[in-house]
Symmetry: C2
Subunit: 312 residues, 2 copies
């Protein structure tokens, strides 16, 4: 079977494109030769970013210094990028997910399978949150898996040892295909069959990271921070159990659970949100990227309050 890929080449997307590109080339019997990566095009020093990626094989804006495999081609048109693809890999910042899904609806193969790497939830207009995997499924009507874990793009790109958890409720074969696509010696992938818990772990940990950042900002020490991580971890488990009716404690011991939580609380984006006022930080420290924690915290808190579960 020959597959094609769809990847949004944002900062993180470039790192994962390196992994996918290498693995696709390694297993030519399983994967198609060419990987099409949708790129949100922009001007960089008077040139189009897509052209730079396709000639210099480097995302000079979001992942400078790292070579992207030559079987990855940047495509600025999203419909064109996904047409005829058997495999869709979503690495879309959460605020663009809805628009991307609307554009793609009706424009992908009905037999395609998708996986999302977005760590963040979508706020509902009437309150509460939606999972990114559910949103993609709703619009594209195809099976959606998730990949989460402690694997910051820069460290993945640098070939540092990282882990990931894939939640796949589709067939065992699809799970094995995802593992073949993502697993490398330095990027160790475990596949579990619980999409919801894996995605919620990846999204809700941002709330705990905000609290850890607040603690750092107030000058508290490592023991206080460890207590916040521990108590937050238990809150996340309770939230998943109460609102999604799943109680799969083993998943919380996977990379998507405890490891991603720790990594975010000792070095993640949300941690640095509290050094200065929010808008300044987003601009200066995060260089235009956004932190999911505050929005996620507000929505989760509203859900807990509405369900009268504050004391639980």
């Amino acid at each position: 079977c020959l597959h094609k890929f769809f990847i949004k080449l944002c900062f993180r997307g470039s790192a994962i494109a390196c992994v996918i590109g290498k693995n696709a080339a390694e297993y030519p019997d399983y994967f198609g030769k060419d990987i099409k990566a949708w790129i949100f095009d922009e001007d960089v020093n008077g040139k189009k970013l897509s052209e730079i990626v396709n000639t210099e094989h480097e995302n000079v804006k979001y992942l400078p210094g790292i070579k992207i495999p030559s079987n990855v081609t940047a495509v600025p048109d999203i419909i064109q990028a996904c047409k005829d693809a058997d495999i869709l890999v979503f690495v879309v910042p959460h605020q663009f997910v809805e628009n991307v899904c609307k554009k793609l609806g009706g424009n992908v193969k009905p037999t395609a399978v998708a996986i999302t790497l977005t760590k963040g939830l979508l706020p509902n207009k009437e309150g509460g949150i939606r999972l990114v995997s559910e949103e993609i499924k709703k619009h594209l009507k195809i099976e959606v898996s998730v990949l989460m874990g402690a694997n910051l793009a820069k460290e993945v790109a640098n070939n540092d040892f990282c882990e990931a958890t894939i939640g796949c409720s589709d067939s065992v074969e699809t799970g094995m295909m995802w593992k073949r696509l993502f697993h490398t010696e330095n990027f160790q992938v475990t596949v579990v069959d619980d999409v919801v818990t894996v995605e919620l772990c990846g999204a809700l940990k941002n709330i705990i990271a905000c609290a850890a950042g607040l603690s750092d900002g107030l000058g508290h020490g490592d023991n206080t921070k460890s207590a916040i991580i521990r108590l937050g971890f238990i809150e996340v488990m309770k939230f998943v159990e109460c609102f999604y009716n799943v109680s799969n404690i083993k998943i919380f011991f996977e990379s998507c659970g405890i490891a991603d939580l720790i990594a975010s609380c000792i070095g993640g984006r949300n941690l640095f949100m509290f050094i200065k006022p929010f808008p300044e930080v987003e601009k200066e420290v995060l260089k235009g990227q956004s932190a999911q924690g505050p929005m996620c915290a507000a929505e989760a808190a509203a859900m807990i309050k509405k369900a009268k579960l504050e004391a639980k």
Copy 2:
């Protein structure tokens, strides 16, 4: 009922003496007025440390700048300090535990209860490890509980928010007494009925902290470190299950488990063991204190090898 206390005033002991002293004064119906704290006496600027503590109410050598409550009296003679005590609190560095127990054997009330705060295991001459709580019980023939958790002395003394887990297999009343003695607004105590798992969590995490230190020393990032913490955490659970036949997964979510492990891996003593060669580090960085990780790792590895459990 009136109780007396025995505390070894080492660095950590001074911090916990502040907590105990305050709580004992707060509950005069439950606890005796005077707390006797055994101190390993030494000369500090030409004066005895015990005299300095008893006049200035400060352990100027191991916890300078922190006032020790006036109901705590330093006693240089260990037999004298423990005579007639109903409650014994052990805060003895692991290398002195055996000698202290031998001296005290036959010299404490048979109705006394003890608790140990030592995070470290004792190596057996014939290989393998012994629990500190078991060692005390063997010599003193009294009930022994344990207190572990992410609560570095300095942060406890500074009144930063910390947590602790007490493992108590004695009666519920003893467990409640320990909670009353240690619990404060900023030092939150949870009591569980599994002494072995709590103590093993506190001791074995030092091995993982060594690995985390090695990763830092090699220049790896936060995701690698989180993977080490996660994989090490699972190894600790397997070790406890295999060698002590207990499988109490909830304990690992207490402060003694995941929180202490995280605190040690982001700021603990064992972490700093790998910046320079061992003897230099122990002298310069740890200022004469010892790190339990390397010894503990060697003994645990030997046990695993002997039992042919490497692949598990």
